[in-house]
């Protein structure tokens, strides 16, 4: 039986070039479905990758209890002092805890190519003593760090590429004051979409006395997180939540990712249905045009099973080819494409589309499933062709 199946399948596949017209319908149909599916999910993968990269393993972020984002959070100077005094924190050479009290101020910048409007971006005021030590992966790629005490800004690389007026040497006017951009940094994570300034200067410029969050690093001993968290929650003067830095950033675009997930699901389902109809059409036509050939094979002793398998294989091969083309299109057109969306912090998060191996596998799986469904009924018809009438077919 397997020899028979192999023989018929080989004949079928070799004859595809003679009927490109209809075969191409399956290929293109699936290329479309898989390309759209992969492109949409490459967006969520990109966002996820950007945010997952944010956060050192031992870093924790402290926000006011119940705040979902730094923008909504507020901590007073006393709160920050209490947090810095908690046990379990890593200390620098001078014995000071590695903790950076930070604020987020939202400011507007024009995207490249825009002349009006403007999109929200985060301006983060950081403690120059500790903020860089807490994020050792952050590197300056142009210019220098800001000088504490001066109205100087450094900008994330992604932000610098996507927005106007965010390259070294340029100035930024906010709230009646002028900032000079002195450097560009790269961190490969969510901070790449931010502007950074000295916390003291940011507080005085924007008329703030408090902080949005405290980022700190645990000393790495077992139970340090527990000790730190217990200390903060048992202090009646504090009302705060402790999260790991990576969990916090991961939660920042959950809504966006869920929405895109639903859209991708619905769109893929409907397009997939359409592709199944098209595949059925093509395979029925293929079976009909070969009716006499199939009947001849049956007459000289080939069984129905191998005929069925051969039609299924043909449908699968075409569908798989379509899926592969779709993946390739999505990869060539979208992989690495950089866009931005709104995070829960109400500011732009710049990210790039990312085609992951998992995504490629899922795209190809869709192609195979559609190919199976689209091939099965025509295959069944082929296997059941009444030999005598089919032999007389013109």
């Amino acid at each position: 039986m397997w020899n028979q199946a192999l023989a018929i399948t080989r004949i079928n596949l070799r004859s595809i070039p003679q009927r490109w017209g209809s075969a191409i319908v399956i290929v293109v149909g699936l290329a479309g479905v898989v390309a759209v599916f992969c492109a949409l999910l490459a967006m969520t993968e990109g966002v996820r990758a950007t945010l997952r990269a944010t956060g050192q393993p031992d870093n924790v972020i402290v926000l006011r209890a119940g705040s979902s984002a730094e923008l909504n959070s507020g901590l007073s100077r006393e709160d920050v002092t209490l947090i810095r005094g908690a046990p379990g924190l890593k200390r620098d050479a001078a014995g000071r805890p590695l903790a950076s009290g930070e604020i987020i101020v939202v400011t507007e910048l024009l995207k490249r190519g825009e002349t009006s409007g403007g999109a929200n971006v985060s301006l983060r005021g950081v403690d120059p003593q500790t903020a860089f030590a807490l994020r050792p992966h952050l590197k300056m790629v142009a210019g220098r760090r800001f000088t504490p005490g001066l109205r100087e800004l450094i900008v994330g690389r992604a932000l610098s590429r996507q927005f106007q007026g965010a390259t070294p040497g340029e100035t930024l006017r906010t709230r009646g004051s002028v900032w000079t951009i002195v450097g560009v940094f790269e961190s490969g994570d969510a901070h790449d979409s931010e502007l950074w300034a000295d916390i003291d200067v940011a507080q005085s410029t924007f008329g703030r006395t408090g902080f949005s969050s405290v980022l700190t690093e645990l000393d790495g001993t077992r139970g340090a997180r527990h000790e730190f968290e217990d200390h903060l929650t048992s202090d009646p003067r504090l009302n705060v939540d402790v999260q790991s830095e990576s969990d916090y950033f991961d939660s920042q675009t959950r809504t966006f990712r869920a929405t895109i997930g639903v859209v991708a699901g619905v769109v893929t389902f409907i397009m997939g249905l359409g592709a199944i109809f098209a595949a059925l059409n093509t395979m029925y036509a293929a079976v009909a045009s070969r009716a006499r050939e199939i009947a001849t094979l049956r007459a000289i002793g080939f069984a129905g099973g191998p005929v069925l398998i051969s039609v299924m294989v043909e449908s699968l091969v075409l569908a798989f080819a379509g899926g592969a083309i779709g993946v390739l299109i999505a990869y060539l057109l979208f992989n690495g494409l950089t866009i931005s969306t709104l995070s829960d912090n109400f500011t732009q998060l710049v990210f790039s589309f990312r085609m992951t191996p998992r995504l490629v596998a899922r795209g190809l799986l869709i192609a195979i499933v559609v190919g199976m469904i689209g091939g099965f009924l025509p295959a069944l018809r082929a296997a059941r062709l009444p030999i005598t009438t089919a032999l007389r077919a013109t």
């Binding site: 479905v33 759209v36 939202v106 059409n281």
Partner: protein, 385 residues
Amino acid sequence: MTRVGFVLANLFRRKTRGTLTLLSVVSAFLLFGLLQAVHVLFNAGVDFVGAARIVTQARVSFTSSLPLRLLPEIAAIPGVSQVMHETWFGGVWQTNTPLTTFATVPEQLHAVYPEWVMPEAQWRAFAATRTGIIVGRQVAAQFGWKVGQKIPLASNIYPRRDGSKAWAFDLVGIFDGKDDNWQRQTTQEFINYGYFDEENQFGRGNVNIYVEKLSPSADPAAVARTIDARFENSADETKTQTERAFNVGFVKQIGDIGLIVRWILSAVFFTLLLVVGNTMAQSVRERIPELAVLKTLGFTDASVLGFVIAEAAAFCLIGGLIGLGLATGVGALVERKLGGFLPIQVDVGVWATGIAAMLAMSLAVGILPALRAKRLNIVDALAGR
């Protein structure tokens, strides 16, 4: 047999093929209808704000606050007839349902937004009840809220003075929109600024944005420039734009939804072009002798061309109308289930675009097979050459 009957009969002479082709068209237009509706939804807050209103925000961004003391200064600027202010409350219903809640002054809201329709008694109750809240029809329907009910809301921004985040409001009114477009926006809630400002833990006398209603003769751009010039180089620099531009900017921040929709739809229609085009080509190829007979009987080249195009159009129109019909149904279902959160409506505009797409599609898939049928040479075709 009439010509229409002839076309329809040919459509299903191969039942499986006809049906499958039709189903592909149906699924394509189902998707078209839904995506187009989503696209319209995101632009909805944008297109219908016809009233002459402008919005003033802090120049830094609308998340920064402006002091309340700007109000009389803005009100005094020529061309401004009414001013209101709004502050984003960050309302959260139960554990995790974010609501669009603003703190504002009832009388100002009533004067600046005549589009919100509510009985006068309820407007008066809103003004008189410090802990009052009014909610849009869609929100009320979604959660089954009734006037007189106590509404517990959390704020993810503002704790109360005692440090708790649990606020509670008395539902004193439910507002409607003056027309369908405005009704679709009744997903908001308004609370009393006086109570909010006194009860929240942070700074007093700050607001997020001012909305100015202009007198009919005023030029919005000129008034906006005057307002911004008034506060230039102060600690509270402003950025004023039309309400429409403000809304466009807001939607655009989420991402270019129009672009994504266009990408998907072009992939869908390119595929569809091939599917239907292939079916038409096959069907004409198989019927060459028949078409030759038609011509022999005296049908002109032009009418044979017409038959083939009509067949293509029948596929696209029948499938397309069914698809859009389904999309309308699905949209209505989603709207009923999810209420205000995804009020997609496959409306007249979507249908009009859809029908235009169907006609363009008919021509695109029909033209090549039709030309082939038109150019048939009777003798060759009958001889099967």
